[in-house]
Symmetry: C2
Subunit: 336 residues, 2 copies
C-alpha cells in the first residue's frame, strides 16, 4: 500500500503543505474548521502525521533507542556516553528506555519501538530475560539491533562483550594468590550470560588451584536492594564465612562494606573483596576497592558504530561483527 | 519486510477497519471472541498499531520525555526512578534524553519532542541554559512541562525544587561550627538557579557568623572533569587554602578526595568537606562523606504526578503547583 504523504494530503484538500502542517501543530493561524477537515481527511486516507516528515522521505526517524536495565550503575552511564558520542556525530538523537530488570517492561519497550520511533536499537537485556521472541519480532520488523554486555546468545547479531570468563577467573585467582581459601561469589540472575560466564571463570580458577567450591558461598542476588543486603549479611554471619568474595555487579559493593562494618569484619583483614565495577569512587572507598573494570565507554561507542554502519549500508551484516573487548583488573586495598 | 497496516489486518480478518480499531481499544461493542481473533491475527502477522493513529484520534503518544544533563549523577538516576514509578502506573513510557550540559543539545531535543513523540516533558536544564525561548516554543506547541531541580525561574509552570538557599546556609554554618574559618565554595555554572541559591545561602551564613568571604576560595566548575580536577588542586595548593569546602554537585567529591591525597592533606584534619550528593557510597568513603542529600526519588515522583494531572485535566494549571521539598543534612566523618 502506498503511504500517503503530506503532499498527497494537501492535494486532496486543496490546501498548501504549510497550512496542513500548521493545522497538525494546532496553530492559531488556522481555523477550527480547517483543522477538523485536515484531521478527518488524514484519518480517512490513513495518513500518519509524521514527526517523521523525515521518516516519510528517508524512512528515518533519526533516533536510535537504547534499552538498558538501569542508569544507577556506572557501567551503563558510561556506555551511554559512548553511544551518544557516536550518535551526535551522525546527527542522531538517543532515546533511552529503562527496563528496571523487568522482562515485561522490556517487551513493551521493544513493541513501542516498532512504531517507527527509532531506526535501530542498542540493548543490554534485563535479568529476567530468558527468551528472545520480542527481540526477533523487532528485528523481523527491519530494525537493526546490537547487544552490548548482556546479550541473548542465540540471536544472530553483533554483540559487544567483555572477557567475562577470563575476568571471573582472574579475580578469583587473585584472591587465591592473596591467601583466600574460602571464596564466595555474588552473582545476579542465572539467565544472564555475563553472570554465568563470570561464574564459570570463578569455578575454573578454584578448580585449577585446588580450592574447594562451596555452594553455600554462592549467592544469587536480585534487583531488590534490601533482599541483597539480607543475603549478604547472612553469608558473612556464617561461622565458616568466606574470606574472599568476587561480586559481579557494582551495586553489591555498598551492602558488602556495610555488612562488614556491622559485623565487625575488616576488609581486607577478614574478607578480601573484588567487584566488577566502574565506580568512580572505587579509589576513595574505605578501603579502596579492587575492581574488574569494563571498558564501558568503548563498548557503547563500538555498539553504536556498528549500528550506524548497518543503517548506512544495508549490505552490512551485523551478525559477523561481534567483539570481545578485554576488561582491566585494578588492584587496590580491598584485596591487600 | 512489508509493514502490515490496519487495512491489511482488516482484509485478512474480513472485518472493517473500525471493528479492528474498536477491538484494539477494548470496546464493549466488540465480542470477546472477535477481540481474541483480532489479537491473534495481529500477533501472527506482526502488526504494530501505529502510535500516531492514536495520537491523531486522542492526540496521545503515551510517552513522556525526560530531559536531563546526565545520568552519571545519582540525583538524576534516582529522580528517573521516581518519574518511572508514576509513568508505569499510568501506562506510559519514559523516553530519557541527555543534554550532556549543552544548550545546543537541549534545544534540539525539545525541537524533536514537538513532533508528537511525547505528550509532556519533565526537565532539568543544562548548565549552559541562560535563555528559555526553546522551552516557551515547546509549551506553545501544547506540550505541558514540569521542571525539577534545575529550573528556568522566568517560565510559568510547576517547578519541583529543594530548599537550596537553606541547604547552602546549613552546610556552611556546619563547617563554621566545626571550626572552619576559611570556607571555599565549589559551584557549577552561574546560569543555574540551584548553584546560585546555594551560593547565596553560603554567603549569608558567612556573613551572619562574621566569617570572611574570599573570592579566591570560590571556584566555578564546568562539565570538564580534568579541568575541574586542576581547579580544585590549584585551590588546595594555595598557602592560604580553605580549611572547609562546600561543593554543590556530587561529581566534585572524587577530585577533592584525590587532590587531598595527592597534596598530603587530611580530611577532615586539614580540610572539612561537605557535598550536595545522593551517592550511595557516601557512607563507605574514606572518610565517610557529610552530605546535603536531596529527596531525588520524591522529586521525580512529584514532577511526574503533576505532569499527569495536567495531561488528564486540561483545566489543571501547572503554574500554581510549584513545590519546595526540603533536603536532609547528613553528618559523617568528612566534617568531624
Amino acid at each position: 500500500m502506498k503511504n500517503i504523504n503530506i503532499k498527497d494530503l494537501a492535494r486532496e484538500l486543496n490546501l498548501s503543505v504549510s497550512t496542513i502542517s500548521k493545522a497538525f501543530h494546532d496553530s492559531h493561524e488556522i481555523s477550527e474548521d480547517t483543522k477538523n477537515r485536515v484531521l478527518e481527511t488524514a484519518r480517512r486516507l490513513n495518513y500518519v502525521p509524521n514527526p517523521y516528515a523525515s521518516s516519510l522521505r528517508g524512512r528515518r526517524s533519526k533516533n536510535i533507542g537504547v534499552v538498558i536495565p538501569e542508569v544507577a550503575d556506572s557501567f551503563f552511564s558510561l556506555a551511554i556516553n559512548g553511544i551518544e558520542s557516536v550518535a551526535k556525530e551522525k546527527g542522531y538523537h538517543v532515546l533511552i528506555c529503562l527496563t528496571h530488570e523487568s522482562f515485561e517492561n522490556e517487551k513493551n519497550i521493544l513493541k513501542e519501538f516498532q512504531g517507527g520511533r527509532v531506526d535501530g536499537v542498542i540493548m543490554s537485556v534485563s535479568t529476567e530475560t530468558s527468551e528472545s521472541g520480542h527481540i526477533l519480532d523487532l528485528m523481523a520488523n527491519g530494525l537493526p539491533l546490537v547487544f552490548f554486555d548482556r546479550v541473548c546468545e542465540e540471536i544472530e547479531t553483533a554483540k559487544i562483550t567483555t572477557d567475562d570468563f577470563e575476568s571471573g577467573y582472574k579475580a578469583t585467582e587473585h584472591l587465591i594468590q592473596q591467601g583466600c581459601d574460602k571464596i564466595g561469589f555474588l552473582g545476579i540472575s542465572k539467565c544472564l550470560s555475563i553472570s554465568n560466564r563470570r561464574f564459570e571463570g570463578y569455578q575454573k580458577a578454584l578448580n585449577d588451584h585446588v580450592v574447594a567450591y562451596d555452594t553455600k558461598h554462592t549467592v544469587s542476588c536480585t534487583n531488590d536492594a534490601a533482599h541483597n543486603a539480607a543475603l549478604i549479611k547472612e553469608l558473612l554471619q556464617r561461622k565458616d564465612h568466606p574470606n574472599g568474595i568476587v561480586a559481579t555487579v557494582e551495586k553489591l559493593t555498598t551492602p558488602v562494606y556495610l555488612a562488614c562494618a556491622e559485623l565487625g569484619l575488616s576488609i581486607p583483614g577478614d574478607l578480601k573483596f573484588i567487584c566488577f565495577s566502574n565506580l568512580e569512587t572505587a579509589s576513595i572507598l574505605n578501603p579502596s576497592l579492587s575492581t574488574i573494570t569494563q571498558p564501558a565507554f568503548e563498548m557503547g561507542q563500538m555498539a553504536a558504530t556498528l549500528l550506524f554502519k548497518s543503517l548506512e549500508k544495508t549490505s552490512f551484516s551485523l551478525s559477523m561483527e561481534s567483539q570481545v573487548i578485554p576488561s582491566s583488573f585494578i588492584k587496590r586495598n580491598s584485596t591487600d
